[in-house]
Amino acid sequence: MKILIKKTTYFVLSFIIFASTACTDILDLKPLDKISGEALFSDPDGVKLYMADLYYYLPVEDFNYDPIKGFHVTDGIKDKNTQGFVTDSYSLDGAESAWGGTFAESDLLWWDEAYRLNRSVNLLIAEIPNLNVDEAAKKKLVGETSFIRAYLYYGLVKRYGGVPIITDVQEYIPGETDNLKVPRSTEKDTWDFILKECDKAIANLPLDASEWGSSDRRATKWAALALKSRVALHAASIAKYWLQAPLSGTAVDEGLVGIPDSAANRYYLEAIEASDSIMSSGKYSLYKPNPANPTEAAVNYQTLFETPSVAPEEVIFIKGFVRAGNKTSHNYDWWYQPQQTANGRAHPGRMNPTLDLIDMYESYDNPGYSAPVVTTQDGMVGDANGFVAKKKYLHFNSPEEIFKNKDARLFATINYPGAVWKDVKLVIQGGLVKPNGSSIIKTKGSYTHTDGITYYTYGAESQFNYSGFDSYGAGNMTRTGFLLRKFLQEKNDVAAAWNQSTTDYIDMRYAEVLLNYAEAVIESGYNANNAQQKAKNALNSIRFRAGHTVEIPLTIENVLRERRVELAFENRAIWDMMRRRTMHTEFTARRRMGLMPLLDLRGTSPQYIMVRMYFESTITFKEKWYYRAIPGTGANGLTQNPLY
């Protein structure tokens, strides 16, 4: 009994103590490691800091974009291990070395993060009128936030079609969620909203990055115009082509996906005008537009991506990578190094350009036409079924001879069999053919010839001295015969560890603007202001920069081939196929191709033959995948996209 009383006393006492403390604000501490909203926005430097964060979270498909894990994988939160995937691993142009190149429904998503960024932008936009800065600075901020908003919604609309457009700072009233729910806008309205935001950005952003002061990577009027050119072309293509892959259902009936084709020409015109504003400004030009010869052209082109800072005349919008470490670096040199120069990196060789892409490159002998790699005496290129002993192959003393006279950009974009990379000759060989015609292909082995020399399947005995076709390291070797060269550091050594690459990523450059212009002109038949001639010149100026000397006519085939070659691996290819609705036609039971050099010992001296071959099983793209599934429709009540 005594104990019980004692306990009760304690209990009551402690209750009183608790209750009394609640009456003071002693616990309402301001955190010491965080800045309040008012403090942040009252200081111009605070706004700058906030802005840096907004740029960081922009959906720029840069070196840190993984279609599976999303944007900025080296942010220290996400798992930086992308396995070397980029969007181009899903295109016709490249394949990841270990994994198949087929979509899953969980790929290319970007939703929660998008609306988080959207809220951050809205917070700043609402605060701009109250900021303690002059009108000119406010004008620039209006432009910059519009640019970010346009960029953001472009990232959404190209994935999901029409999305909810939220431009105010939503207030959460506990218990009430209905006021937070915003229905999807139609796809057309979403594109129009983005173009309007682009216009606002164009009207308010500075003419030169120097007006920002120290930072030359913030958006300018020209970046907004380049974005508009890209966005308008995308919208126009969907309007013109989306019925090539028709869908049905509520989302279609409500216009949430798809654009009436009557809108196509207006969008093309917007793309033309935005591109033309940049082209006629005289502000931008191609980097080193008149090379003396193809060799020089190849060096120039490679340098442009290795050191983008050399080309302010071409680069319009850039994402900087500043120093090794989380957040401010990437892993291109880690993933895409050939095995021979891996220098201790555990997983090199991950990007394997396909023969499908190599075939696109022109030969200087035959300007205006892609020049598929010819491997046999009959010149047929249709068969890619691998080595057949009785077939009459062309013979080469060295594997790189087969690429002779090809477009300079091939040699600057691709590491091919026999290429010299970082002073090392790349050995990429898939097997050998013995004098009796039997072969060892993609199996580790060797053969000692009558001349007493031992030849190895993969061109060398040790896996550190070759870069192709072996299963070593589950993907360390290329399986297509090709590796990536563009964007990688050849001159500088990058430490062989995670998060060490600091090559800047060019998001928008002048060549893309020219190509957007040419495509929009030819697709719409626009001919005012001498547009047809201007478009032809634009197309050819890019080719001349690559060492071509003969003009080719303005046709859609020429523009699309040029686009694929010039912008290869800039993460544009997949979206070009999406907007033009060619993913499902190209990827119907499609097998992408590689090129396998074999050492042929049947002749008097060993020579190489090159074998066109499929390197993977078939890929089929479903038409519904042109739009991704909207997440959480059970809770947010949004109309789901067709067939999800």
């Binding site: 028709p246 079924n385 057949v388 089929t620 038409e623 059970g634 789901q640 067939l643 999800y644």
Partner: protein, 231 residues
């Protein structure tokens, strides 16, 4: 004494934890549904592709913002789902190789059967696939069920498995038509095996199937029955 208290406390804690480990209180799936996709005239099964073919979409009644669910239809045109919940559903077929049909409400309880009776776009009639010398010769007639509608493409598809079809084949021969096809005219596709010598394993059984695509928005291929041939 003290040890015993600790022991009892631990036991008590365990008991408390364990009581929360109840199985979730929802019943498992208790019903099944099966059926066929049938031709409204001939009453024959309408063959489907598993990959990017038509599917059955169904929405369970009684929920706010219900998600649409999908069932795959087998290649032969039948389907079976043994893990359904007893409830009322709205069901429909997603666009496929037939004229779109109206959605229907169905009460699923116990073993329910629901057939979808459709008008296939094309019937591949008198299909014959033979190996002649080193070629595969397919002859057939095409009956389109929509008047004056063009046939877009015809094709002969081969695969080791009977999932064979336009989206899943080891090798194929396709031919664009782009014209209205007369039912009485015999169509012929000749696939020269020499040209595909590296695409198949000699001596093995392959399934061959004739497919035809009508030039209609969202149409998928219609097929004959696959035929097995040793190569």
């Amino acid at each position: 004494m003290k040890k015993r208290t600790i022991f009892l406390t631990v036991i008590a804690c365990f008991l408390i934890i364990l009581t929360s480990c109840e199985l979730d209180n929802y019943d498992g799936p208790d019903a099944e549904i099966s059926g066929s996709i049938l031709d409204y005239e001939t009453n024959e099964l309408v063959r489907q592709d598993i990959m990017s073919g038509a599917t059955i979409s169904y929405i369970e009644h009684g929920y706010e913002n219900p998600a649409t669910q999908y069932m795959v239809i087998k290649n032969d045109g039948t389907y079976l789902n043994k893990l359904m919940f007893s409830a009322t559903y709205t069901m429909n077929l997603t666009p496929g190789n037939f004229v779109p049909i109206e959605e229907q409400e169905v009460i699923v309880k116990g073993k329910t059967t629901l057939n979808f009776v459709v008008q296939p776009y094309i019937r591949v009639k008198n299909a014959k696939i033979e190996k002649v010398n080193n070629t595969i010769v397919a002859t057939f007639n095409l009956q389109t069920t929509l008047p004056n509608q063009k046939v877009k493409t015809i094709g002969l598809y081969a695969h080791l498995l009977d999932i064979v079809g336009q989206p899943s084949n080891a090798f194929k021969l396709e031919q664009s038509i782009g014209a209205v096809v007369d039912e009485t005219v015999e169509q012929k596709l000749i696939l020269d095996l020499d040209a595909y010598s590296t695409s198949y394993f000699s001596g093995r059984q392959y399934y061959f199937i004739i497919g035809a695509l009508l030039d209609v928005s969202q149409a998928k291929y219609n097929y004959a029955i696959p035929v097995q041939i040793q190569l």
